[in-house]
């Protein structure tokens, strides 16, 4: 079954149309990179998929594992296996990272008819997954993202993804604000989470991330539509030429 099928998606943010007919198909096991200049609608796509309030879909369809994703509440989407790694992870003072994640994991397990994990099992799972992104154990005990550096926040997102084991992961500008070492750690964590059952959508402005996480497909988003798609070499082409050449041309790939 197709993981995700986005058909002619139009979406408004604060009354302004940002997505203007986006079409995209993602199969299990695939990693898709969505690239594009600032303001092209990359992050909007990520938030629309996650169901963020304030992002209004005016036209089109999103089918996720055979279901109409747009009718589900944000928490139902999450429980169904949609995960968004935030570009700007939120700080939650007073709520510890493990406690937060245990509540999340158990909400998802409950939804899937699985027994809740007890504290011991959960801590063991956390320990294993924290190692994936070299997240110090101390950070798992601290309040969610509170006082974390930019890099720690991003690692924490991937750590959460590893624990929650989603079917579809959307990574929104996961590379932004990372130095090269942090980028390498985050990318290596993401690579370890690639699997034939899981699909990923990487939203990124720069090609840099794609040196470390090699995508199966690259799509270029401009003015709310996918204007061209290709393999990983498209990213390199973009790196060399920039985005300007795409915007000048009519959109040949829009109908693809």
């Amino acid at each position: 079954m197709t993981m995700l099928e986005v058909r002619d998606l139009h979406a408004n943010v604060q009354g302004r149309e940002i997505l203007k007919g986006l079409t995209l198909t993602v199969n299990p096991g695939e990693v898709h990179a969505i690239m594009g200049p600032n303001g092209s609608g990359k992050s909007t796509l990520a938030h629309v998929l996650a169901g963020r309030p304030g992002y209004e879909v005016t036209q089109g369809q999103v089918i996720y594992q055979g279901r109409d994703l747009l009718t589900l509440s944000p928490e139902e989407r999450a429980r169904e296996g949609v995960f968004l790694a935030f570009q700007y992870p939120i700080e939650v003072p007073g709520v510890s990272n493990v406690y937060f994640l245990k509540a999340a994991a158990n909400a998802i397990r409950k939804h899937r008819g699985l027994p809740e994990l007890d504290a011991m099992d959960f801590l063991a799972l956390c320990k294993e997954k924290a190692a994936l992104v070299e997240l110090p154990e101390e950070l798992t005990r601290r309040a969610v993202n509170e006082g974390f550096s930019g890099g720690e926040k991003k690692r924490n997102e991937i750590f959460q993804m590893a624990v929650l084991d989603p079917a579809l992961a959307v990574l929104d500008e996961t590379d932004s604000g990372l130095d090269i070492d942090a980028l390498r750690i985050v990318a290596s964590g993401v690579n370890k989470l690639r699997s034939p059952q899981r699909a990923m959508i990487l939203v990124t402005h720069y090609q840099r991330l794609l040196d470390y996480i090699v995508p199966d497909f690259v799509h270029v988003l401009a003015d709310g539509r996918i204007v061209t798609s290709g393999g990983k070499e498209l990213a390199q082409e973009l790196e060399a030429k920039g985005y300007a050449w795409l915007e000048k041309e009519p959109a040949p790939a829009a109908s693809r």
Partner: protein, 479 residues
């Protein structure tokens, strides 16, 4: 989560509202010396008690209702209030729970206070106050063995007049303030607890309060005395049925901790807060104060989620050297609730220490004010205070206010004050939702995280109850 959803959650209503249908024997509205004489004679009080009440009343006549709190309510007509109500069954006071009016028991059941189970499971002695007269007191025998007296205030006046006379009004004098004077004049019942020298009270003592008869003022009087080296932990909890008219509640609690004694006083308060427009609801004007003698310690912990208006400053007079005062508070205001609450720490003795941790949560149109006074007297050398006042806002129509007064007259004092204000944002809630956690659960988790420093001060079973209560209150409070 959208603003609409927040609004919907914010406008849910109180879940413990109901009225028990019991005939009350009620004195007609109005306040005069005659009414006070009537109350006193109905209770069969000795002359000195009546005189004490009358002197309080005469002080009260000279006093003005305080206008300084940051709360707003229509003028109270003190002549329109009935000052005495008792359930009928009180005349031949029940000897055991079997004799208690089944409807009362039913009411406690609805509140989740099954007395019988509590007796067995929690090992708590319950002095349940229904309106103004105690209807059930348990575990007395066990307490008697170690010499602890725990009974209704009326009973104490009859059975232990010397103790009551010795300590009553020594912490909160009759002329202390408008509401305390009113209480002193007309109080109908309450609890009395006395722990003799060197005794550690073998169980948590607990009282559940409830307001029921319509338009009836509720004036509880509590006096707790811990003799030298004694220890007692006292739990107070209450909830009230839904009512249309505002009900005045003006309680007085006095704690006396003699040398080396410790009193831990915990409150979970859930009086009816009024509906979403602020109609109905309890006016809770309470005077709570404790006096610490040498090396004594008094610790107040309160979780305030109810009442339309709360005016309450559980305080400590640190009279003796090396004495310790603590105040841990969670106050939640939702809908149209208003709270002006905090503490006073009066350092008199040397090397006295006080800690204040106040957590205010405002939701809906709620207004939450922290008002605190830390006074270091001239002779209080080496005194220390740590204060922390945190406010959490849910939504954009509520308010948090902080008035920390500090008055230091001794240069050796060490004072620390920390304050913060934060807001539960839609971004935070969405973050939880994106991880599979519902908005309501998200708010619960954030609020519980915010309050955990206070919850950990509560006795275990009470902490669970408080957390639950906050959850229930929040279901109607997010916004």
């Amino acid at each position: 989560m959208s603003t609409d959803q927040l609004h919907e959650l914010a406008s849910r209503e109180y879940q413990a509202g109901f009225v028990t249908d019991i005939d009350s024997e009620t004195v007609p509205p109005g306040l005069s010396e005659d009414v006070i004489r009537l109350i006193s004679s109905k209770k069969g009080e000795p002359e000195w008690m009546l005189e004490w009440r009358l002197s309080a009343y005469r002080h009260w006549l000279q006093m003005k209702e305080p206008a300084w709190p940051n709360v707003h309510y229509p003028k109270i007509d003190y002549q329109a209030i009935s000052y005495y109500a008792a359930p009928k069954s009180s005349k031949d006071a029940p000897k055991s729970l079997d004799e208690v009016d089944p409807k009362l028991l039913e009411t406690y059941e609805k509140l989740g206070i099954p007395l019988r189970e509590r007796e067995k499971l929690a090992g708590i002695a319950v002095d349940a106050v229904f309106d103004s007269v105690s209807v059930a007191t348990t575990f007395k025998d066990k307490l008697k063995e170690v010499g602890v007296i725990f009974c209704s205030f009326s009973e104490a006046v009859k059975e232990h007049p010397d103790l009551v006379r010795k300590y009553l009004g020594t912490v909160v004098p009759v002329s202390d303030n408008f509401f305390a004077a009113l209480n002193s004049a007309v109080f109908t019942d309450g609890s009395f607890c006395y722990v003799p020298k060197g005794v550690r009270c073998p169980m948590e003592l607990s009282t559940y309060f409830r307001i029921n008869a319509a338009n009836t003022g509720q004036f509880e009087r509590t006096l707790i005395v811990a003799e030298e080296g004694a220890y007692v932990s006292y739990l107070e909890g209450c909830t009230a049925p839904m009512r249309d008219e505002n009900q005045l509640h003006a309680a007085v609690v006095e704690l006396v901790a003699l040398d080396d004694a410790q009193i831990k006083y915990s409150t979970v308060q859930n009086w009816y807060p009024g509906d979403k427009d602020g109609k109905g609801g309890i006016y809770n004007f309470v005077t709570k104060r404790g006096k610490c003698f040498a090396r004594a310690k008094i610790s107040w912990t309160q979780v305030e989620t109810g009442s339309a208006i709360t005016w309450k400053y559980p305080s400590c007079i640190l009279q003796g050297d090396d004495s310790v005062g603590e105040f841990y508070s969670v106050a939640l205001t939702a809908n149209r609730q208003q709270a002006d609450t905090g503490t006073k720490m009066i350092h008199v003795g040397k090397n006295t220490k006080s800690t204040i941790v106040s957590k205010g949560i405002s939701a809906g149109h709620g207004q939450n004010t922290y008002r605190g006074l830390v006074r270091i007297g001239k002779g209080a050398s080496g005194a220390r205070n740590y204060s922390q006042c945190d406010s959490l806002l849910l939504g954009d129509k509520c308010g948090a206010h902080t008035f920390p007064y500090i008055d230091v007259q001794n240069s050796t004092a060490r004072m620390e004050h920390e304050a913060s204000t934060s807001k539960i944002g839609e971004d935070q809630i969405f973050y939880f939702q994106q991880r599979g956690i519902s908005a309501e659960e998200a708010v619960n988790m954030i609020v519980n995280g915010f309050c955990k420093e206070v919850f950990k001060e509560l006795p275990m079973e009470f902490a669970v109850e408080a957390q639950k209560l906050l959850g229930v209150s929040l279901e109607g409070s997010v916004g």
